[in-house]
């Protein structure tokens, strides 16, 4: 049903999304993965980093020391594998809110991510040189931005590509339609990465659309649609790298649907026991995206207990360092209501700033 253009590998079987690395960590003989060597090791380290961070932040949240946030747990391969296909020195990431690995790979500081979820506006700062847009809570509204950004790069003869993330829930929004349709018209260099994790809070994918696959939307926008096993780092990387190459070559956008699963709660405020079938969840725990890579790396001789320990050590330093850096920033002040709202604030705002920063509540 999903029809790809002739020159583009067709992977359109909804029942069996494209897969390279089987759940048992083996790959078919004769297949050469597009992600290997130190790039693969880096991707593994990044997935472990965000897994560690997810755990840590959840613990802190339970103690009231971190804000409401959404873990990427279980979806690391979909996010990391796709982001690893980018060149952060020219390509952009446009996130929803569940894509920490992609942000980190682009160079967005973990410290900012932490500050943001501590409720500090300074955490929203996208540092100069980091090619990503801010976290986006209003679902699908980031997709028009992504298309415009990609269009603007092309207009200015830059060869960057934009990788835009959205969820199965977000795919139902009008903005998703309008953005994909415009991207098709403009042949904008954008890759739409739809993380189909089975849920939008408590709403299952089956209630989100009667379409057999969401990638089936692509022909309606004149672009190829690809289904991929979202828990297979190598497959996600491969299809994204191909889509990025097409986009860079001026051949237009691609819609990639990565089939994955949200193994945890929607966010720290959610109680999935009210609506998730534990058997379904457990079956997905058995398809963990990280252990698959671990087994494969081990087979390749690139992973061992000692390497794992060193990685864990580095990651712990990163997490602890970022938490410490965020903590050291000091409490946010009322000035942060006003900073960066206008280039040149009107008089009324300037007056309000002096009133509001002169007093607390």
């Amino acid at each position: 049903m999903v029809q790809a253009e002739a020159h583009f590998p067709a992977r359109q079987d909804v029942s069996a999304p494209h897969c390279i690395l089987a759940p048992d960590g083996t790959i078919a003989a004769g297949v050469t993965p597009t992600l290997s060597g130190s790039d693969l090791a880096d991707a593994m380290e990044l997935m472990l980093l965000t897994r560690m961070f997810d755990d840590k932040a959840m613990r802190l949240q339970r103690q009231g020391r971190f804000g409401t946030f959404s873990q990427v747990r279980g979806q690391e391969a979909a996010v990391t594998g796709s982001a690893a296909a980018l060149d952060p020195s020219r390509d952009w990431v446009v996130p929803q809110y569940r894509e920490l690995p992609a942000l980190l790979r682009q160079g967005f500081p973990l410290e900012h991510f932490i500050l943001y979820f501590l409720g500090d506006p300074r955490g929203a700062e996208v540092p100069q040189g980091v090619r990503c847009l801010p976290l986006n809570i209003a679902l699908a509204s980031q997709l028009p931005h992504a298309v415009g950004l990609a269009w603007g790069l092309r207009r200015q003869d830059q060869d960057g590509v934009v990788l835009a993330y959205f969820g199965d829930g977000a795919s139902s929004e009008g903005d998703a339609h309008e953005a994909m349709n415009l991207a098709g018209i403009l042949k904008a260099p954008v890759v739409f990465l739809l993380s189909n994790n089975g849920w939008a809070i408590s709403t299952p994918r089956s209630k989100q659309s009667a379409a057999t696959s969401l990638a089936a939307r692509a022909p309606g926008y004149g672009m190829p649609g690809i289904l991929v096993d979202g828990n297979d780092l190598l497959a996600v990387h491969q299809v994204t790298a191909e889509a990025v190459a097409r986009a860079r070559a001026g051949d237009g956008p691609t819609l990639i649907e990565a089939i994955t699963y949200r193994v945890g709660p929607h966010n720290t405020a959610d109680d999935p026991s009210r609506y998730v079938d534990p058997a379904e969840r457990d079956s997905w725990l058995g398809r963990d995206p990280i252990s698959r890579v671990e087994q494969y790396l081990t087979t390749c001789g690139l992973w061992s207990k000692s390497i794992a320990a060193a990685v864990e050590e580095r990651n712990r330093e990163t997490v602890d360092g970022a938490l410490a850096a965020a903590a050291s920033r000091g409490a946010p002040t009322a000035d942060l209501l006003f900073d960066h709202l206008y280039a040149d604030a009107p008089a009324r705002i300037r007056r309000q700033r002096s009133e509001f920063t002169g007093q607390g509540r």
Binding site: I201, T203, L341
Partner: protein, 327 residues
Amino acid sequence: MPIMTMLDAIREALTMEMERDERVMVLGQDVGRLGGVFRATDGLQDRFGEQRVVDMPLAEAVIAGSALGLAISGLIPVVEMQFLGFSHQAFHQIGPHIARMRYRSQGRFRVPLTIRAPFGGLVRTPEHHCDAYEAQFAQFPGLKIVMPATAYDAKGLLLASIRDEDPVLFCEPLRGYRLIKGEVPSEDYTVPLGKARIACEGEDVTIIAWSAMVQTAERAAAVLAEEGISAHVLDLRSLVPLDVEGIVAAVERTGRVVIAHEAPLTAGFGAEIVATINDEVFYRLEAPVVRVTAPDTPYPLAGVEDFYVPGVDRLVAAARDLARMAA
């Protein structure tokens, strides 16, 4: 009488009305199995079935727009917008269509549709979850805007809203869901739309507020009382219809007025109240009306929201200054 949270009162109103009138349907994101992200619809799907309590796809415009179609077909939809902030995605449906379909069809189609939408700050939610956009909706002729501040009113106003023949935007204060509690009769009762409530009687200065800000005003009144200043608190209950008579009476009583709201100052609904007072009761003002509002900046991240939402201190300071001002 049972003591209930505002959330329980809302759920009770929904349950009673679904029981009483089988045309009533509840639809929205996550309202079914989950019972809504705040549990306002908890248990409704078990009780009334998947046909009447419907989990909708993540698409606000068609949630609102299809509810209009349901109303035209003869049903009585109660929509839950997960947050008022995301009603912008349905803005073009709510104002130009839902609010106008009766007019656009010259009376042929009635639109007894209610949109429930939580809003308001101080509960550490992410972006867009707290914004108080009520004034934007007040520029939509045909739409009523209801703003309960107590558990009692939440039930009575919601029943009145669902039964109203015309569309109602029913805004629920997030921080009041569990914190605002009160006596709520278990029988069926309605509170009429367009009738303000005197939350607290006083003689020196009037504080006009709605939704959760009424509680802040009551707390301010308590602080002011200790200082010997008697504050009169008027809870508007609905912005459209606006209880102009109730406002006039409250202004006549004290001659001094503070208006409090969570939305930014400029073009907030406070401006309309100042203008209404100017229109109706100007000569009884002993001093300019004072608006205590958020600044003209976006609702910020949680770490600085305490600076943003007007608190007791700012209300007390404004009321005190007014009360002490020579007439």
